[in-house]
Symmetry: C2
Subunit: 341 residues, 2 copies
């Protein structure tokens, strides 16, 4: 099958669909829920709070330094659930494939999804495959949805930030977006910039275990970057946020390319970083457990929550610049980098 | 906003994204889960079995007689959960929109989703919107995923059919596929054929309340039609299935167009019909409750489960023809109608 190309018939619900699923997907996503091949999965769940999230991935190119659309799709939904304070357990995977797409590329993507699911400790339990005629979609789009349990001690939401809280970033910002851009636009600057695509559930779990309800907000700054995430937190919590430019971690190569291209790393997408708003008394302990995790090694404080809520949409997030001034970090307008995730 | 077209920036995660969501979606999908605007929804769930399902919709055209991609996307996932024996409760909605798509068309689709959700009694609690550059997708694709509870008394699965069981169809077959085809291919035969797009959860609920574990299998024959669904049931249950051509309900206009176009209604997609495999002692009672529901008014017996399991992939489903002969109903091969759902 590996030398073939995807045909419309692979999405027909008939023999070729069955073959694609039973030969390419079931062996990789091996679990008893999926192998029932019913219209959905039947799961045993405990009583409690459940996080439920969905995300579609349309990234271009589908293979890029540091990952591919497959691990991105798994990590993205794992992270959305983790940012709700949930322990992700079960994922769905729905593929829209363009007719003519090479089966070997699909196999590589599915393999990456399976590995990412293993790394995150989640099962892909139900799925769907559609094939559209050539030209009706660009190569491959993937939707994942997921469910996970929220422990009783956890209470995170974008509306929970309080004046005096501290804002933490788990590591360098902008890696994913710049990795994609560098490859896509034929820029190919000779720098080693990899996507940070990674599952944040284990890191978030450590933080919540340490600080419980002392973690007020968790957000993964994907599309729109940290600027969008911080503005959403400010708006939902009706607070101001002050960050210090000199404290915002940006890898040297990313900072260099951003500067060349006129991009602000605060607006560039990440796929393996989180922002946390934490009760100030717990910050040092939270940073200590974060730094024990490979994904939180570079964790640091980037700013604070203030009581200066600006009713207008801009002016809620203020940056103290490296030069000693101040500037507003507005909600992004205009799409810098379409199809970044 | 209604006179505008979708821009890449509507999918950026920035200001225009927020405006699209807060002006177009939140008012229609109004519920407290969604309005939190977190990365996912936090739901309170009871202990028990949960059904989890996903489906992407790529139907072309997006508006068709009897519905549009919006109600189809909601009904499709509602039905998948209902076919697991579940009571659907919460749905996610993820849109991939082509740049330039008219906002008024998007508003109509979102309106149809909201109405379909209300009809089915489900809440759309989390979502995602991506915009891709013109030409990278054809107009609009929608993924919905959903969760629902499975009552303790219920045990339906494609592998549960037993020899002696009876096969029921809830109504006429082939309506959806022929409605799409008639509009899409510029055929426009002057006939009133409407898609049967409808939520089957209330009908399935009545049936399960009446017969409990006496309902062995539920399937909605979508892509691949009844032929694919019956072949899957036969394969999963390791049984044979005999159906009688004269008993298979097909609307006159659909039968006419199928005959003109050389299509077999058994292979044409449905979006508001179910097939049920039922313990024979309970069949009359089940038919009686089905016929009380508008969606089951034409419910009838179309065949039986037999012990004649054919190990080869063809020969598991046999049709007694109207002419008195017999023919094999094989698993579909080849895509008759791409982008039917």
């Amino acid at each position: 099958m590996r030398d073939e190309r995807i045909l419309l018939d692979h999405g027909s619900g008939g023999l070729l669909s069955n073959r694609l699923i039973s030969e390419l997907m079931l062996p990789l996503f091996d679990n008893s829920f999926l192998s029932m091949q019913d219209d959905g999965a039947c799961l045993d769940v405990p009583a409690g709070r459940m996080a439920f999230s969905t995300d579609s991935f349309v990234v271009d190119p589908i293979f890029f330094p540091g990952g591919c659309i497959g691990d991105l799709a798994v990590n993205g939904t794992v992270n959305d659930i983790a940012m709700c304070g949930g322990v992700p357990r079960y994922l769905s995977a729905a593929l829209i494939i363009e007719e003519g797409f090479p089966v070997k590329d699909l196999a590589a993507v599915v393999q990456a999804m399976a590995e990412a699911a293993r790394n995150a400790g989640v099962l892909i339990v139900t799925g769907d495959t559609k094939v559209v005629p050539r030209g009706a979609a660009d190569k491959l789009f993937i939707n994942t949805s997921g469910v996970g349990y929220i422990p009783k001690s956890v209470s995170v939401a974008a509306g929970n930030a309080r004046p005096g809280d501290v804002v933490i970033a788990s590591g360098t910002l902008g890696d994913h977006g710049i990795a994609i851009l560098n490859q896509r636009e034929g820029l190919s600057f000779d720098v080693d910039i990899q996507s940070d695509s990674a599952p944040l559930n284990h890191l978030a779990g450590r933080m919540l275990e340490m600080a419980g309800s002392g973690i007020h907000v968790l957000r993964d700054p994907t599309r729109g970057g940290a600027a969008a995430a911080l503005n959403e937190i400010a708006a939902q919590s009706k607070v101001g946020i002050r960050i210090r430019e000199s404290s915002v971690p940006v890898a040297k190569a990313v900072a260099g390319l951003c500067s060349l291209l006129g991009l602000d790393p605060l607006y560039v997408a990440n796929e393996g970083k989180l922002l946390a708003v934490v009760e100030s008394a717990l910050v040092e302990k939270v940073l200590a457990v974060m730094r024990e995790d490979p994904l939180g090694r570079d964790a640091c404080i980037i700013g604070e929550i203030t009581g200066e809520y600006a009713p207008a949409q801009s002016g809620r997030v203020i940056m103290e610049t490296a030069a000693g001034g101040e500037r507003i970090v507005p909600m992004p307008t205009g799409e810098q980098l379409p199809r970044i995730c």
